[in-house]
Symmetry: C2
Subunit: 607 residues, 2 copies
């Protein structure tokens, strides 16, 4: 088992090797921006899909809407840049909202993002798998197993550590960026040289009947789904090489620039080529076909797109564990999320994320598209909260140049709030569950915190009642027969110089009782034997009652009761199936129900 | 939970109430013969199905073949009657084969029957469910859940105890017998009064081209599947009221008589009416329609048949646990099968049977017909073995009138062997798995027995090396901080008058190490603290190494090492999720890997 684990994730790393696990800007850009960049593959299409409900002539609106999305992108990038410097230990929307707006807004932001990263993994991997099964239809019936294998691979890769996964994943991300640059460059070159007819599209500004503000806002909200993943860098600052905030901020700016270029390029080409969304062929695929024809370049762009869709999931793997650490440090989720694994990654977070997304994929049978609106709204709620949090911060602290900062965040907050509301208004049927599960998550966070606080208070030395001194010991040894295991246990009990040792035998039949007492008096005459006849063939009930009696008497003298349980340990695991696990049952029952000490005396069988 | 259990299976019974759980003949006949009687519903059909491969004119052969089956039935009934008196403690084929032929033939018989009872339950319940879903096709897609619910109901009924299940199940069994008596009686009356044309069938003796001995033997083997379940009474003698063997023997004779009458009646009517097996309508259903038309009587007979098919499963529930007790007493299967449950039934056997048949139903998606040949061969192997065993017994012991007894058993053995061979020759594709899983089962039985024997030998006082005396105690207390739980544990360790107490702290970082040592020296200066820096963040590894060192030194002086583990017990079960189960992991690891004693000091949290 340890050898297999080592093969899978590599040798354990020392805590002091943590520095070597940090990311440089190039690698960080690759693994933290895959989610945001991949949304270029479907964001522009979302805008066209809404406009199409009026008419193809309305497609020119995608240009102003695209500009709107770019403005939102700028506001978000600038705003998250400010967050990075203000909160250099990471945590993003959760920490910002908690510190500036209060605990509950913070928990709403944290809960949304936590769920969102799980959705990111499930949705991205399903989308990538769909791309593969579209290319090879014979694989179609294996969609779920293929998606699960991808999640498992990503999980293992991330368990190996952040630098290793970054090294592997950097290539496909840059490949995608290069592919799209070639596509956009060639497209614009063809337009500039007049190779493309300028009659394929309606000119910008053409009046269109039936266009309403509502529709435009809906198109804008849909297009904004291209911005999911922008917050990931602000959660993952601790993964950067020092000086972490500066490096993170530069990476964020680079990502923003790339995203802006790719997004405007695709929107513009789609508009100029007059492309209509189709059910079977994506908009990017149509642009590629229009630009190159169905040649090698076309398939290169298609392949790079499929790859980035799967790798977008990796952003979830980078951000989820770090967000979980922040929540766990504040005691809102189990403490185990703060523990570093063998390879210094927060392995419990990585494994939980993998398992939960596999669960989602299986429950939705790989048809996770219906989760996309849920996923988008789950991003824009924390966006809105973090922007509002920053507004509060600037107004409160008024640092140098705060008015400019406030304007940036206010713009961001207003746009994000609009987008969030648009999702609720236009896609309520798909996103209403958020209103159900967010309160549930926040309630669970709250209960967990309360429990941890109660425990801490009870364990702290200063606040508790002093421990009562132990004046003596009473030892009870349940015995099942006259064997070596029992002899061994009694021998041990004797060595503890206890005030009293009582052996307890529980016969199911009267005849057995007398017979055993006689044998005992010959074997261990110096140890008191109590027999408890059990007509209902239960062992735990009579033993429990007897222990209660002894415990009551012992407590009067400040004596401590210890139950010494003989247990033989078979040599091989499967042998355990062959033995009634009475020792184990007695131990578990007594440990949880009684205030007594349980000692297990193992007797290791040799064959 | 206990209240729910009580509702489900009733109040626990005292061991002394066992006598009240015994069966009278009428109830015993009902629950032990349901399997055998139900086979009348498909046995005659099996004969016709084989003959049909030649021509409908060959159907007259069903009469001599039916007579052959009746002879086999007589031989089996007489033979099992002899078994009942020779082995009045039950166990049937397993005990007979083991005592007379040797351990391995016994295990083959026992293994076959054990698997066979699981098949009985799965096949009968699936068949009954099919009958229901045929009547209500809208239920068809729920076949598997319906079958599973029936198995669960039968399991609960049997957990309530044998008399209670007998009281409930007696009605449908007698209902079926009455229904078939009415059917056969009316049929014969109509034939006698000449209402039925005597030209529907070929006269007995008509020469038919293409009939071979092989085909006739195949038809005979198929018809013999009506005899499955005949052995159940001999396994279940301990369930009878005293004098058990006499009551069991009379019940067996009554069952044989009923089976003979019903079987010959159906074979005869099918022949006289000239009925051909059809895919959608069973032979019994055709006879009923021919006799009554599609009126209330017809549906009464159909309903009673569907019911008995499900209840046939109950024979498995009566016989499996008792066979399991016999195997467990001989140590071939886990000892837990000998334990009586709250209601004095062998509940582990009942529950295992239920779970395994549910597993079969789910794996085969309720399509268990393909298992029928497997099931028949699994019955005839133990039949053959037990008959041969009885032959050996008579030849060896030569009691009064042994020649007559020998003739009966020899006849039985020869016919059963023929039937078994016919199954292998004519349906090899469906039964070959028996040749695979019987050796596996026998091997497993053998390994289990070997393990129990090895354990018994090691525990027995006479044969083992004497226990080394304990001259003193060394106590190791792993501590995680300065808290009440730790204080409590150290307090306890102090009260045991040990030679040495060592507290062990495992820091992951160097700074933490120094800080803790300083705090400790102020808090518990009298208890030695050892800190084990763990650069790989593992707790178990450094602790385990340290314990090895201490253990080696302690052993030199015959000192015993005890590890005292502080563990706090949260108030509610779900709280356990919130705590790293370090105490539990340490305890489990040490218990199985080291020869030391483990003491758990619980600290019960109050909120």
């Amino acid at each position: 088992m340890p050898a297999f684990k080592r093969l899978l994730i590599g040798r354990p790393l020392k805590s002091t090797e943590l520095g070597e696990q940090k990311l440089n800007k190039k690698k960080a850009l690759a693994i933290l921006s895959s989610d945001a960049l991949s949304s270029v593959a479907y964001g522009p299409e979302q805008i066209l899909l809404v406009l199409m409900t009026v008419s193809a002539a309305a497609f020119w609106y995608s240009v102003p809407i695209g500009i709107g999305v770019l403005i939102l992108l700028c506001a978000l990038i600038l705003s998250y840049r400010q967050i990075i410097f203000a909160y250099p230990h990471g945590g993003g929307a959760y920490v910002v909202s908690k510190n500036n707006l209060g605990v509950y807004p913070g928990l709403i932001a944290g809960g949304s993002l936590l769920v969102d990263y799980i959705l990111t993994v499930a949705v991205s991997v399903s989308a990538g798998t769909d791309a593969i099964t579209s290319a090879f239809p014979s694989l179609h019936e294996y969609t779920v197993p293929i998606a699960v294998v991808f999640v498992l691979l990503l999980t293992i890769l991330n368990l190996r550590g952040v630098t290793e996964s970054a090294s592997v994943l950097a290539y496909p991300v840059y490949l995608f960026v290069v592919a799209l640059f070639i596509l956009i460059g060639t497209g614009i070159y063809r337009i500039a040289t007049g190779e493309v007819s300028h009659e394929l599209h309606t000119p910008v500004g053409t009046p269109i009947a039936g266009i309403s503000l509502f529709l435009l806002l809906k198109a804008f909200a849909s297009g904004s789904s291209a911005l999911t993943g922008v917050e990931a860098i602000s959660n993952a600052i601790p993964n950067f090489k020092d000086p972490a905030p500066n490096n993170a901020s530069r990476t964020l700016m680079a990502m923003g620039a790339l995203l802006a270029v790719l997004f405007s390029g695709i929107v513009f080409l789609a508009y100029y080529y007059g492309i209509s969304p189709m059910h079977e062929v994506t908009v990017v695929s149509q642009i590629a076909e229009e630009t190159f024809g169905r040649n090698a370049m076309y398939f290169f762009i298609q392949g790079a797109t499929a790859l980035i869709l799967i790798l977008a999931a990796n952003t979830g793997y980078s951000a989820f564990p770090l967000l979980a650490v922040n929540l766990a440090k504040d005691k809102f989720i189990p403490r185990m999320f703060t523990v570093r694994g063998d390879r210094l990654g927060y392995s419990n977070g990585i494994i939980s994320l993998g398992l939960l997304s596999i669960l989602l994929i299986i429950v939705f049978q790989g048809q996770t598209e219906q989760l996309i609106p849920l996923y988008a709204v789950g991003v824009f709620i924390p966006f809105t909260l973090s922007q509002s949090g920053m507004m509060v911060k600037w107004i409160r602290e008024k640092p140098q140049g705060w008015v400019g900062k406030l304007i940036i965040n206010t713009t961001g907050a207003v746009i994000c709030l609009t987008v969030t509301l648009m999702f609720f208004i236009t896609k309520f049927a798909q996103v209403w569950t958020v209103l159900l599960f967010l309160p549930v998550i926040v309630y669970v966070f709250h209960r967990i915190k309360k429990h941890y606080e109660a425990v801490g208070e009870q364990l702290r030395l200063a606040t508790c009642e002093p421990v009562t001194p132990i004046e003596g010991n009473v030892i009870i040894v349940p015995v099942s027969g006259i064997t070596h295991v029992v002899e061994h246990s009694l021998n041990y009990a004797r060595s503890l110089s206890a005030e009293q040792i009582i052996a307890v035998y529980i016969p199911f039949e009267r005849e057995d009782e007398a017979r055993f007492e006689e044998k005992w008096s010959k074997w261990m005459p110096d140890i008191r034997l109590v027999t408890l006849h059990s007509p209902y063939r239960s062992i735990i009930q009579p033993l429990s009652k007897f222990i209660d009696v002894v415990h009551r008497k012992a407590s009067e003298n400040n004596y401590q009761v210890t139950v010494v349980i003989p247990q033989f340990i078979p040599k091989k695991g499967w042998h355990n199936l062959l033995h009634n696990q009475t020792s184990f049952l007695i131990r578990t029952y007594l440990l949880y129900r009684k205030d007594i000490i349980i000692t297990t005396v193992p007797y290791h069988l040799k064959k």
